[in-house]
Amino acid sequence: MRQVSIIGIGQTKVDEHWDKSFRDLGVDAVLAAIQDAGSPPVEALYLGNMLAGQLTGQEHTAALVADYAGYRGIEALRVEAACAAGSSAFRVGYMAVASGLIDVAVVVGVEKMTDMLGNEVTAALASAADADYEVMHGVSFVALNALLMRRYMYEHQVERAAFANFAINAHRNAMNNPNAMFHAPLTEAAFGKARMIADPVSLLDSAPICDGAAAAVICPTARAREFSAHPVHVRASAVATDSLALHDRKDLLFLQAGRLSAQKAYAQAGAGPEDMDLFELHDAFTIMSALSLEAAGFAPRGQGVRLAQEGEIFLGGRIPISTMGGLKGRGHPVGATGMYQIVELAQQLRGEAGKNQVDCRLGMAQNIGGSGGTIITHIFESAD
């Protein structure tokens, strides 16, 4: 096994891109990352995407993007794991380079969501859940998170307002990220009054529907300095699974796949949660932030929400999260999200996060597919 490093990153702004197609977004991010890496000889492209088949009527997307990016002929494969598609593609790229089969690979996450109507996108997103035994009953993806949030509030005796800082922090951090979708601050009062999508989950608990693509170029660490003055090293890459359906979980309020993948990642990195300087978690809904902090070992069970209430998740806090806006503020183009998390961690570890710069050496990203059926954890280290 070889050590692997990121030698280039690229991203499009997350937005409603009426003038850009699925392939345009993918090509923009791929070419930006390759240029950032000094145009190394790319041998393979791995593409993370969840919904192109349903929302664009386009499968076979990896070959399409490779072709349009000017790389017709190379190895190109798509990887899918619902909302964890982005980091699942990174995982496959990592395995290809670490194994020695591939030297230079580009990994891209792409999602184009805004060509379809809201109810159609809602139905498409629900396909991350169990089609025969959850979705059949009219359960939206928001409703699954609402079932989690209601039970969490009941068992841990917390009010909805306790989750406000997850959304407020994300919006505040997005203000300084030019690639974020939202550049408007969020107040506690607005959070309290937000309209319900599936109660107790409101519009302001939820990440937006949007378009975007983010990419990274990776190569063996031994060659990283050939291409980059500031490579970022992959210290851990781990995937774990759980039941797709919430009703099949042994313990509804604990993300078992989050714990399993984080433990594997900590073992690979020889580090623990106390060593992480920042944590890009999967804040698709405020409840997911709380559950992710608990599963990854940053808070005891039922205490994840306290880290938000006490401000420990802010840029100056004990464990900054969503430092470039997270899914809530930067946006959540689902199959691209995992790659946005990784690209933003690389920005932080390269010291390129601008006003949101965290003093950091080690950072972790955790990308959640569905309501926790797939959870992928990566740990990165600054080379400086």
Binding site: G118, D132, Y133, G138, S140, V142, L147, A198, H247
Partner: protein, 136 residues
């Protein structure tokens, strides 16, 4: 839901037909043929009683395509008295009256229509238990 899928799941949707593991005795719904506890084969049919209690719930205001005409409707996780948990809609109850722990029982109701020409999908929903002492 397309007709072959409706047909395949008819015993589950209309009579909560699950399975029991012959080795460790755990009741399974939906059926999965492999016991998640002991990984052994679990293909013996077992019909669940349909009695249980609300474990969590949510009222949906923004529905997926195909369910828009039913909003607002309330979905729940129901813990059945034999152990398995199921996801289903609640019916015959005002959303304000739903609470965690509320005893419920299975009934058969219309779930969705597949356009003007498609088949109507029937299946289980849960209503407040009519008999006293049905909670688990």
């Amino acid at each position: 839901m397309h007709i072959p899928r409706q047909w395949r799941t008819r015993d589950q949707r209309l009579s909560l037909m699950g399975e029991v593991c012959p080795k460790c005795g755990v009741k399974l719904f939906p059926p999965r043929d492999v016991c998640p506890e002991c990984s052994g084969p679990a293909k013996e049919p077992f019909a669940l009683s349909g009695r249980g209690a609300v474990y969590s719930y949510s009222t949906v205001y923004h529905a997926p395509e195909g369910y828009e005409s039913y909003v607002p409707y309330t979905v729940a996780l129901v813990r059945l008295e034999e152990g398995p948990m199921v996801t289903a809609q609640l019916t015959d109850v005002d959303k304000e009256q739903v609470a965690i722990g509320m005893p419920v029982e299975m009934v058969t109701r219309k779930i969705a229509e597949d356009g003007e020409d498609g088949a109507i999908l029937y299946g289980y929903k849960f209503r407040p238990a009519l008999e006293a002492g049905a909670a688990c």
